[in-house]
């Protein structure tokens, strides 16, 4: 099929569905425990050069423990899906983990402003970018989850976002309507934080879902972190609420407060004080290095990081804030 027009951006991953099928054919369907530490999971499943996706929405239901661990273990030359990536993007930039990014939303932290360090990194020329949009990346995951190499969408046309993307313009064979063909995005590895999972990887999540269920299905390898491990019996009690089935999952890590300092729906709000400190510290590269040493490199795990920043007391306050209890104002 001839395309009418095409972007000059690179496609960093292989959209071929038969190649993906050949991989998925070899993926285990066994119901076996995948419980391990975040350290083990990152050692086993995240490799230099891999294309990475992180679930959630920037600072909401994000797998922070995995992001820190990737930086701590010094992964490099990765590809990354900047699908409204905010605080998670900041963390990966701190480690200069990736050298190519599919951009939808990066560098910024929404109402909080822009990350000085992420901007420096993205303006350094060290990172190759292709431009997309939030919906485009959602559709690219959706196509991969469906086992095809593209889905059409009606966005991006007429703009430089299209020009600097890897997309192509096609026409509907029925109506002649023009579409941007969005190439399927099968990440090598993804990490998603959920509310509950069993030891096999069957997951439940609440609140906004962003594109996580498609990301889970599109990914070749998947690390799940969860607020709580639950019994398999509880999953089977009502299968209506399983949003990611175990056969998509390679590792299950129990990480309560795993989205901290991000927000976790119906669990705890974001630690805006700490995020502000992070952004402020980034202004001075020397200070920021010390900050990272304290908060990532010298930490054994996510809990040590939390303990250094207020521990359980802080988290109880963030719970109050999440539920808007009166004392949350104190």
């Amino acid at each position: 099929m001839e395309s009418i027009e095409q972007g000059i951006g690179k496609i960093f991953t292989d959209p071929d569905p038969d190649n993906a099928r050949a991989f998925f054919r070899t993926k285990s369907r066994k119901l076996e425990s995948k419980v391990m530490s975040v350290k083990e999971a990152v050692e086993k499943f995240v490799h230099d050069g891999d294309y990475l996706t992180l679930g959630g929405f920037g600072a909401n239901r994000v797998p922070i423990a995995v992001a820190h661990e990737i930086v701590r273990q010094g992964r490099k030359k990765m590809g990354f899906a900047g699908h409204t990536s905010t605080h998670d993007f900041q963390i990966l930039c701190a480690g200069e983990v990736f050298n190519r990014v599919d951009v939808a939303y990066i560098v910024g932290l929404e109402a909080r402003g822009l990350s000085p360090n992420a901007r420096r990194y993205m303006e350094s020329g060290k990172v190759e970018v292709s431009e997309w949009t939030n919906y485009s990346l959602s559709v690219r995951f959706k196509a991969a989850a469906a086992g095809v190499s593209f889905y059409p969408a009606r966005n991006m046309m007429g703009t430089d976002t299209f020009k600097y993307s890897g997309a192509k313009i096609i026409e509907c064979p029925f109506t002649g309507t023009r579409y941007v063909a969005q190439p399927a995005l099968y990440p090598d590895v993804s990490a998603i934080h959920v509310h509950e999972a069993d030891i096999y990887g069957n997951c439940r999540a609440r609140g906004i879902t962003v594109s996580d269920f498609d990301v889970a299905r599109a990914s070749k390898r998947l690390i799940i972190t969860c607020e709580r491990l639950i019994a398999n019996d509880e999953i089977r009690r009502d299968p209506s609420y399983t949003v990611i089935p175990y056969w998509c999952v390679d590792a299950v890590c129990e990480v309560p407060y795993g989205s901290y300092p991000g927000n976790m729906y119906a669990e705890y709000f974001s630690d805006e004080e700490h995020i502000r400190e992070w952004m402020k510290t980034e202004e001075d590269p020397v200070e920021f290095k010390k900050f990272l040493e304290k908060n990532i490199y010298s930490c054994k795990d996510h809990f040590e990081y939390i303990e250094k920043n207020g521990g359980i007391n802080k988290l109880l306050k963030l719970r109050d804030k999440e539920f808007m209890f009166v004392k949350a104002r104190d």
């Binding site: 939808a104 303006e123 939030n134 007429g158 976002t161 594109s211």
Partner: protein
């Protein structure tokens, strides 16, 4: 009754555009405040959605992120990005608010970069996020922005989100959904719409204390002028009290 700042004026002006029974996808900050104000002041049936998945919440305080828990507080649905964007693409969403570092005479927006080298930009901004999608899909795009001649640029250095593209029927020809596009631009000085044929930006109202000349002087391209340019009405006491007491008591947005 000049006891209001320009941010309050912009928010009140924007809120009046949102009629009862309409639907809107908003971001954080001023657009969110405008939608909340409309809902509380005159459009109780305004449906507010957020691109990350929140739908029709009873927003208890200003969200920091379009995906934080405030966007699903007592909401009717907590869904995902495809759900919201596809609701827009199906034609169910009337309005959206967008912004950017640059806007041109056709309402195209730049939120991607400044500088000529895409792989090594002088200034890197966040990129589209959902802006390109919302500008493509929602029937009417609104912009609320301070007016200055750098921001209102002859040409965007990068067109992140589509306005009327190069004007005339260029947007219709591009393949973007028929009938959708930029609607009104609300600044500290004026309200602009787009002339129906050329799709060029046009002054339709000026704010109290400003003249057409001020507006043109703070714009990097030539603005068209409506036959009748009215003076924009200042915020009412009721609007201000809702905005200040209920919506933004900590002055996160109106204190800027």
């Amino acid at each position: 009754m000049a006891d209001y700042n320009t941010m309050e004026l912009m928010i009140c002006t924007a809120a009046r555009e949102l009629e009862d029974g309409a639907s809107i996808v908003v971001g954080t900050g001023a657009p969110n405040a405008a939608a909340m104000l409309a809902q509380k002041a005159h459009s109780p049936n305004l449906v507010i959605l957020f691109e990350a998945g929140g739908a029709a919440p009873l927003i208890p305080e200003m969200p920091i992120s379009v995906g934080d828990s405030r966007t699903t507080w007592k909401a009717l649905m907590a869904s995902g990005m495809c759900e919201i964007m596809e609701t827009c693409c199906r034609g169910m969403i009337d309005y959206t608010f967008l912004g950017g570092a640059q806007i041109d005479m056709y309402g195209n927006l730049n939120s991607t970069r400044i500088g000529p080298d895409h792989q090594k930009p002088k200034v890197r901004f966040p990129g589209s996020g959902g802006a390109n999608d919302l500008a493509s899909f929602c029937w009417r795009m609104l912009v609320m922005t301070p007016q200055d001649s750098k921001r209102f640029a002859e040409k965007c250095q990068f067109v992140t989100s589509p306005g009327w593209l190069t004007g005339g029927d260029s947007r219709a020809k591009s393949g973007l959904p028929r009938g959708a596009g930029p609607y009104k631009i609300i600044t500290n000085m004026a309200v602009m719409d787009f002339e129906p044929e050329s799709k060029r930006m046009r002054i339709i109202a000026v704010n109290p204390g400003y003249s057409e000349k001020d507006v043109q002087a703070n714009c990097g391209f030539e603005l068209l002028k409506a036959k009748q340019i009215v003076e924009n009405k200042p915020p009412t006491a009721r609007e201000l009290s809702i905005l200040r007491d209920e919506i933004d008591p900590y002055r996160y947005v109106i204190g800027r």
